[in-house]
Each structure stands twice: as structure tokens, then as C-alpha cells.
Amino acid sequence: MSARTLFRKIWDAHVVEQAPDGPALLYIDLHLVHEVTSPQAFESLRVNGRPVRRPDLTVATMDHNVPTLDGPITDPLARAQLEALRQNCEEFGVLLFATGSGREGIVHVIGPELGLTQPGMTIVCGDSHTSTHGALGALAFGIGTSEVEHVLATQTLPQALPRTMRVDFVGELPFGLAAKDMVLAAIGQIGVAGGQGRVIEYTGDAIRALSMEGRLTVCNMSIEAGARAGLIAPDDVTFAYLEGRPCAPSGAAWEAALGAWHQLPSDEGAVYDDAATIDVSRLKPQVTWGTNPGMVAPVDGVVPDPSDFSDPDQREAVERALRYMDLAPGTPLVEVAIDKVFIGSCTNARIEDLRTAAQVVAGRRVADGVHAIVVPGSAHVKQQAEDEGLDAIFQAAGFEWRRAGCSMCLGMNPDILRPGERCASTSNRNFEGRQGAGGRTHLLSPAMAAAAALKGRFADVRELS
């Protein structure tokens, strides 16, 4: 057999049927469900009298709408949507991690955390950041509500074969930088549509050197480059992360799984449709200045001038972005003052992210006038952080310590920016109004968000005295 990519091996193993000149019918190993993109799917199953084909391969959680402060849900629509999920899961026999169960959390945090996400699997969820799970070598992609219904009813999805793209990170990441800086730089280089129609495989020494959690951050943002999915070949880091997790194989099954997982990495000589190389050896901490994740610059850089862009579409987009962000061309990023800091989201709210940020803020104070919150990615991460005393460090520095959820990443719950407020955020999208209508979002790493909180403006975390 000819040399195959990691992607192709997973794809081939899941083709139920290949239509001539048409899509393949792909089997799905794990379907993750949350409250926002599922109610219409369950309703349609009910109307059509269709059951959930494989409840044993389906897991639901509450994340997008949940309040992160103690107390009841005051928003009646949010409450109704969460209640609908509870009822649907009960009626269709789907396992649900409801708020307060101790296992709830952002859907892309709990999958890996519980060991549900494993190398070689196909994983879908009605959420574009499903690409996160690719960090463990699983083919994971976001789907719409009609497709959620399709998977619930059939455990399969018709899929056209995507193109493949290799993004190779070369060089050694400088001290003090993080996976977030790598992926923001990559999106800045290949563009927000650079991965369109493609499954990206991230390779290179800088990827191998990342922890599992750093890899999850990189794959999480694949969709921000427009990609269907992002993948990293499993290795000893992956296996060490997985071993002992509640749903990971154990005993003889673990040994058998390891054997299969070792076969997954792309073969020598496997061909990709496209390729890009990112040199990280001289990378600086990244901060976005615009209204998409590709509008990014090193922290010691300046807000660009629209006239620097030759492409008219791009020039206009930059003009619009600077107007929305209320930034003047040429302004040094370190002079941009912020109002809020959000450390959270499926990109950067795992335990290592919180440890890194806590290390930066330990013994220091959030700048006057800055409102800073930390929202752990899951109930488990929250518990672990509290066991390590991170909550106390954050609170002593003036951060609020919240309950798990998506929170200010998209502001479906009460955690939002007011019009005109500027936020340093560890999330993944700086679209207009993403964190609240009129709010201005700057994406950065947890360490950089922590530094911004202390200074009240953007700052190179490596230069904090």
C-alpha cells in the first residue's frame, strides 16, 4: 500500500460505504452534544419518530449558557435551553453531565480529560472548535445542527474527502512563549481561510516539544485558519496523558490500543496537498489587533496601517477593523490599555494554562480599573486548581474565580463586554461583538493575559519586573 497520512489512515478505517463520485459515509466513534446546537436536532428526531442509534457513543454536557457565578440561572431562555437538553437526554437515553454533576465543563475540555478522546477516532460535535480533539490524533470536526441530527439518527455522516495540509513548526520555541503564540502566528501567516477545505496535520520539533495541553490549544484554533480539522500524530506525550483516564483503555486493552496507535503516524513519504512552514525560533508573544484571528502582531509591534496592504479587500477589512477596535495605525501595542481580562475557553482553560497564569500573577496585583476573571474549562480543572491553591493566588491578585463554562468566550451567559470595552482574552475569536455587542477583543496566551491584567495594558510577559 502507498504511503498514507495520519488523516488518511483514520478516514479509511471509518468508511462505511463509498459512493461512486460522491461522499463517503463515515462512521463516528464519539458524538459530543451541548445545549445550544442540539435542541432542534432532538426535536426533529421526535417528529420523525427516530431513536438515537448509539447512545453509548454519545455524551452531552452543559457549557455555553451556564452562569459562572453561584446561584440560579436567571435568564429564562438559557434556563429553557438547558432544561430542554436535560429532557432530551433523558428521553433519548444520552449520558449528560449537567451543571453541578462534577463532570461538566466545556465540551472540548471534558472529552480529553475523561479519556473519551483517543488516537485514531472520529469525533464530531455541533461546535466548530471540535478540532481541539485532533491534538490526540483523532479526526475531529465541527458540524451543524442538521448533521447533529444525522449522527444521532445514523452514527454516520456523508463526507467529501477533504484536502490535506501539513503545517510544519520548525525551530525551538523561545522561553516564555506558549502554544497560543505558535498558533496565532501560524494563522497570521496562512490566513483565516488558509486551511479552507483542508485537514491540517501539525508537525515539527516545536509540536513534539509541546505538552498535550499545548497541543490541544494549537488544534483548537485550526478552525480559525478555516480548516476542517487539525491533527497531531500521537506519541509518548499522548500516551502518557491518556493512561489512567476514566475512559481510556486499561490492562490488556491498553496494550492492544498502544499497538494500534503506534501505527497511526503518517508514513514516510506520505504526500499532502498543501504545506506551510512556520519558524518559531524568533517568535515573540502574539497579540491580535483586529477583528479576526489572522490580524495579529508581536507584542512589541504596532497597529498596522491599512495602506500597507495592497489587496483592496484586505485594506478595507483592516480599515473596518481599526474603526471597530478604535485603534490608530502606528500605535505600539504595549500602549493599548485594557478594561477586562478573560482567562478561560476551550483554547486556554486547562490546568497548565491556569498554572502558567497563576505563576505570573502570584504576589502581584491586577491594575486599578481592570476587571479580571478566571473561568476554568471544567469542573474537574476547577477542583484540581483549587487543590493546588491556584484560586487563592488569583483571588489574592484581584482576579475573580468562577465556575466552569464557556463564559466570556462568547458571552451567551451574563459574562459579557459592554460596548467599547477592551478585553485581553485567552479565547479564540476576536470577531466583532463576539464577547458582547460593541466589545473589543484581543487574543493572547494565558501568560500574556496575566501580564496585561497586572499592567492594565499589553506587555511582554518576559519583561515583567
Binding site: 462512521y27 455541533g126 451543524g144 478555516g226
Partner: protein
Amino acid sequence: MRALRTVTGRAVVLDRADVDTDQIIPKQFLKRIERTGYGEFLFFDWMRDPDFVLNREESHGAPVLIAGRNFGCGSSREHAAWALEDFGFRVVIAPSFGDIFRTNAVNSGLAPIALPAEDVARLREAVGRQNELTVDLERLVISHPNGLRIEFPFDAHSQETLVEGLDDIARTLKRGEAIDAFEASYVPRFDLARIS
């Protein structure tokens, strides 16, 4: 889903690249559990600008949206396609689309047609003179009264879904035997009993 064969009518030109689904339908409208009624929230924040193109009289009832590249990028929310469809659009023409949006559109009875940027520019120019287009999903051709004809590629599976107004799930359920055969030797990768 209603069938979509041929559409004739006005086009609205939305001259922006990378329009994400957060703009098409902001999050505060995703809390509803219904599938209909999103049209009034379409481009909610941009609609507050009286000069926004969709606020113009002639935009109402137009079945065709001509958009910029990478239209519908970002979030997987199918509500974006529902909102466009509910507002009255049946076809979106753009140089490229976000992948998930493209699938969502087809599943919502909205045809996402990707054309080379030059062809999109020719269409924009033509509707600027006389605002009328006919989009034929069966023959895969767009035509304008001035004689302009642009053929477009469209994958056969999606074409069938739209033209026949198919229930995609019913089509897959017809492949039940193949799924059964696959599952005969299938071993789940985890046991949820360990965490329930």
C-alpha cells in the same frame, strides 16, 4: 425541506470578505430552541446602521445574496443559514465559503455557490445595471437578462439534496445494511458505564 430548482429575482451585494457567522446571527439569538423565526435577527448588529445594504428597500424579498470571500467562516451555528433562509434568501454566491456553513446551507435549503472572484465581479457588475438573476440548480447555470451566463460546479450529492428537497437522514437510513455490516465488527472505543 422545500425543493430548490430555479430561482429568479433580485440580488443583494454584501461587499465584505470573511463575514463570520457571529455577524450573520449573534449569540443572543442562539438560545431559542426553535428552528424558524431567525430572519428578523439576521445581521442584527449591522442592521442598526441605516445605510447597511440589507436595510435598503430593494433588498427585501431578494432571493440572491452575493457575498465576499470566506463567507460564513467561524462558528458552526446552523442558525446562520436558517436566518438567511428565513429572511428570504435561497442562494448565496461568493468566491468561497466557510466549510461548515456550506454544509449547513445545503441542509437548510439554501444554495451556496462558489464562483471564481472574476465571475462574482461580473455578476456584481451586471446586477448593478439591471438587478435580476436566474439561478438554475438543475442545469447549474446563472444567467442575467443581458445575456451573461455563468456555469458553476456543484457536487452531485448537495445538488440532489437541494433540487429534490431531500431529507438527508432518510437517504442515509436507506444504507442501513451497510451501517449494520460495519457495526457487526465494531468495538466502541470507551465504556460510558465507567463515568456514568
